[in-house]
């Protein structure tokens, strides 16, 4: 198993861990953190492929992902704060007001 394969395996592991966390955990903050984990997995795969093909596009895209992730979390945290102020809980099951 060479280095590239190992790095990709780690990336898949990170991503799967994050996805699993989003699906099974009920705490909103934890779910957000899991989403960051998924992003990191993707970033890792991006830089791996960039190195393998000796291009810079992948590495540049990682910086874009960082910026977007920062902006996203900067919006998500206040939303979570507002939700918590409304319902006094971080449990996701409490937030089902739009249920059809």
């Amino acid at each position: 198993m060479d280095r590239t394969q190992m790095l990709l395996a780690v990336a898949i592991g990170l991503f799967s861990l994050g996805l699993l966390g989003v699906i099974v955990r009920r705490n909103v903050l934890v779910m957000l953190m899991c989403m960051e984990l998924m992003l990191n997995g993707v970033n890792l795969s991006l830089v791996t492929f960039a190195q393998q093909t000796a291009t810079t596009a992948g590495a540049v895209l990682v910086f874009l992902t960082f910026v977007v992730a920062t902006a996203e979390i900067a919006l998500a945290i206040p939303i979570v704060l507002l939700l918590v102020r409304d319902k006094r809980t971080l449990d996701l099951d409490a937030y089902s007001d739009l249920k059809g």
């Binding site: 996805l19 989003v22 699906i23 099974v24 009920r26 779910m31 996701l92 099951d93 937030y95 089902s96 007001d97 739009l98 249920k99 059809g100």
Partner: protein
């Protein structure tokens, strides 16, 4: 260039606008009765004066038709549609009758409608009618004529339903309008055919085109029949005559002006105006003659048994219009116009006289509740008697001359005259004399059958009404000496007569006088004698009497054949199937589909974010698997 002719047409319109805005609810009734009278009567009189001036101009110009283009209506490609006015001998007579008789009826209305709360509205409508009627007779193009044609229909509708509080009046107005639409469809088709063939609707050009053998382009018979269908609607001929008797729901001056003297003669004018077409269409002319004489005959039979004074006059009008069409059908166009003129005089006089009677009797119209009025309202009686004698054809009054000429040409014209037509027409003339003198007897002579309560108030009408009656009675008496056919002859030549029949002229003349006198004598015998005599007659012919009082049950027949199927189709097909089932059903179905689909899909929205995340994950996996297999 707009000039006198345009002014003749526009003056009544101005009257309509002034009275319609200032003297009705619309403008808050700011104008008083004096203003309404001055505007409503003054402008038609002015139009009459201008009409006389135009006739003098026409004479001075050697009878070359005056043409005025007032306005270019539309320019489509190379065809231009102008509002142009055309003034020749025929127009001259029509305009003089319309403005002249129209003006005196306006004056009469001042007295008749004095106590009506919608005085201003009435005069506004009357002026509107006059405007459209003048547009009709002055228009050079069939299109302008048609605008006038529809406009007088509108005015007629408004005036029949003038007292619309009573539902029956409103219904009568509707009936008149709808019946006319049937005829108008024919008229429109005729116009389409003509336009397609000639690219113009100017009537003088169309006549000229037919004169030089345009029959190859479009069959004259087709055009003739289509236009005649229009005429049957407006002029109340079989089978579209049913609206006119009901139109008597309007105020009596309206009946005199619109439903006797002017509007209903528009069909006669149309056929005379398009004589160039009919000269080339012997089949259409024969149809006109047959319809005319049949209408004259059947309407006269109905008139014999009617008891409402205005209904008798209405059927008499239909009958006389039938005479005019008979004359048109045998090619005697000038004679038809002659009868139109004399009929305008005596029928206006009769209607206005009837109005005076109704006025005197506080609204009573049933002849069974009249009688012996001669001494109480003498002016009305004398004028009415003169007009009755005129319509009955007693010499030397107006009706004698015109009717006799119609009978003569029906007998001897080379363009379709036949002894059979004469026979039916002569029988009609006899009945005319009979029912008119019956009317005179039941109303004015014999013993009074008036309610004592009403009798108390019987009074002669004011001068504005009696003066008009006297004027019209004088015209009815001497109108026959106006040589209308002679005046029109250069434009509408009289048909040739069969030479071998010429020696019949004097005997037939004597015979028609005898017929009128026989009618008079019969009416005097039946209705002048004891009431039992008329009663016995009625009992002997009970079945016939029922048929006639029921007006041959044509209204009922139309109701069965047209009205009820139409209601059935409208209700079952259009309302229940089309509207409710198909239209509403489609929309309801679409709404239900949306609602059910929404309910079904709404179940997916559980509100659980985890489930959504699962779906997303499954989606991703599915997409990956798919791309694995396909890339």
């Amino acid at each position: 260039m707009p000039g006198v002719l345009t002014a003749i047409v526009l003056l009544p319109l101005l009257g309509f606008l002034l009275n319609g805005v200032l003297a009705t609810q619309l403008g808050g009734n700011v104008a008083g009765k004096r203003f309404v009278t001055a505007v409503g009567c003054g402008l038609p009189l002015l139009a009459f004066a201008l009409a006389i001036k135009s006739v003098l101009d026409l004479q001075a110009g050697g009878y070359v038709p005056l043409v005025e283009t007032a306005y270019r209506w539309a320019l489509i490609g190379r065809s231009s549609f102008d509002v142009a006015f055309y003034f020749d001998r025929l127009t001259a007579i029509m305009v003089l009758v319309v403005t002249g008789v129209g003006s005196v009826i306006h004056i009469y209305s001042v007295g008749y409608m004095a106590h009506d709360k919608s005085f201003g509205r009435f005069f506004a409508y009357l002026n509107l009618f006059l405007f459209f009627m003048l547009l009709l007779v002055l228009g050079r193009s069939l299109l302008v004529l048609f605008v006038g044609w529809e406009g007088v229909g509108l005015a007629s509708y408004l005036l029949i339903g003038f007292w619309f509080d009573d539902l029956a009046n409103a219904r009568a107005g509707k009936k008149a309008f709808i019946t006319n639409r049937v005829g108008d469809a024919g008229f429109l088709l005729g116009m389409f055919v003509l336009y397609q063939a000639f690219g113009t609707l100017d009537m003088d050009r169309i006549n000229a085109a037919f004169g030089v053998g345009a029959a190859a382009v479009v069959p004259a018979t087709l055009v003739g029949v289509l236009l005649f269908i229009g005429a049957t609607g407006k002029s109340a001929q079989i089978p579209l005559h049913v609206w006119l008797p009901d139109a008597m729901a309007g105020p009596t001056p309206v009946s005199a002006l619109i439903h006797a003297a002017t509007m209903v003669t528009a069909g006669v004018y149309l056929v005379a105006r398009m004589s160039g077409v009919y000269l080339q269409a012997p089949e259409a002319s024969m149809l006109i003659a047959v319809i005319g004489v049949a209408t004259a005959f059947f309407a006269a039979t109905i008139a014999i048994t009617q008891t409402d004074i205005k209904k008798v006059l209405a059927y008499s009008t239909i009958s006389q219009l039938g005479f005019m069409f008979l004359a048109l059908g045998v090619g005697a166009y000038g004679v038809a116009i002659f009868h139109l003129v004399t009929h305008a005089f005596f029928k206006a006089c009769l209607f206005l006289g009837a109005g005076s009677v109704i006025h005197a009797l506080s609204g009573e119209q049933d002849m069974r509740k009249m009688g012996g009025l001669a001494r109480k309202i003498p002016v009305t009686f004398v004028t009415f008697a003169v007009a009755t004698a005129a319509i009955a054809g007693i010499p030397p009054l107006a009706g004698f001359f015109s009717k006799d000429e119609i009978l003569w040409y029906a007998f001897a014209s080379t363009q379709g005259g036949s002894p059979l037509l004469w026979l039916v027409a002569a029988a009609t003339a006899l009945m005319t004399a009979f029912y008119m003198f019956r009317l005179l007897w039941l109303t004015f002579l014999g013993n009074s059958r008036v309610d004592p309560e009403v009798e108390h108030h019987v009074h002669e009408s004011p001068l504005s009404m009696t003066g008009v009656l006297v004027l019209l009675a004088v015209l009815s008496a001497v109108g026959g000496f106006i040589a209308v056919p002679h005046f029109l002859a250069p434009q509408l030549p009289l048909p040739a007569v069969h030479e071998e029949l010429e020696h019949f002229e004097t005997p037939l003349l004597v015979l028609s006088v005898v017929l009128a006198l026989v009618g008079l004598a019969a009416a005097a015998f039946v209705f002048g004698g004891p009431p039992a005599r008329a009663e016995g007659l009625r009992r002997r012919f009970a079945g016939l009497h029922r048929l006639l009082t029921g007006k041959y049950f044509i209204d009922e027949l139309y109701e069965r054949l047209i009205g009820e199927p139409l209601v059935w189709v409208s209700d079952r097909v259009f309302l229940r199937l089309g509207d409710r089932r198909i239209l509403d059903g489609t929309l309801d179905g679409m709404a239900a589909l949306g609602r059910r689909g929404g309910a079904l899909l709404g179940r997916v929205q559980t509100g659980s974010l985890h489930l959504y995340a699962w779906f997303v994950a499954l989606g991703i996996v599915g997409a990956l698997l798919w791309s694995w297999h396909h890339v």
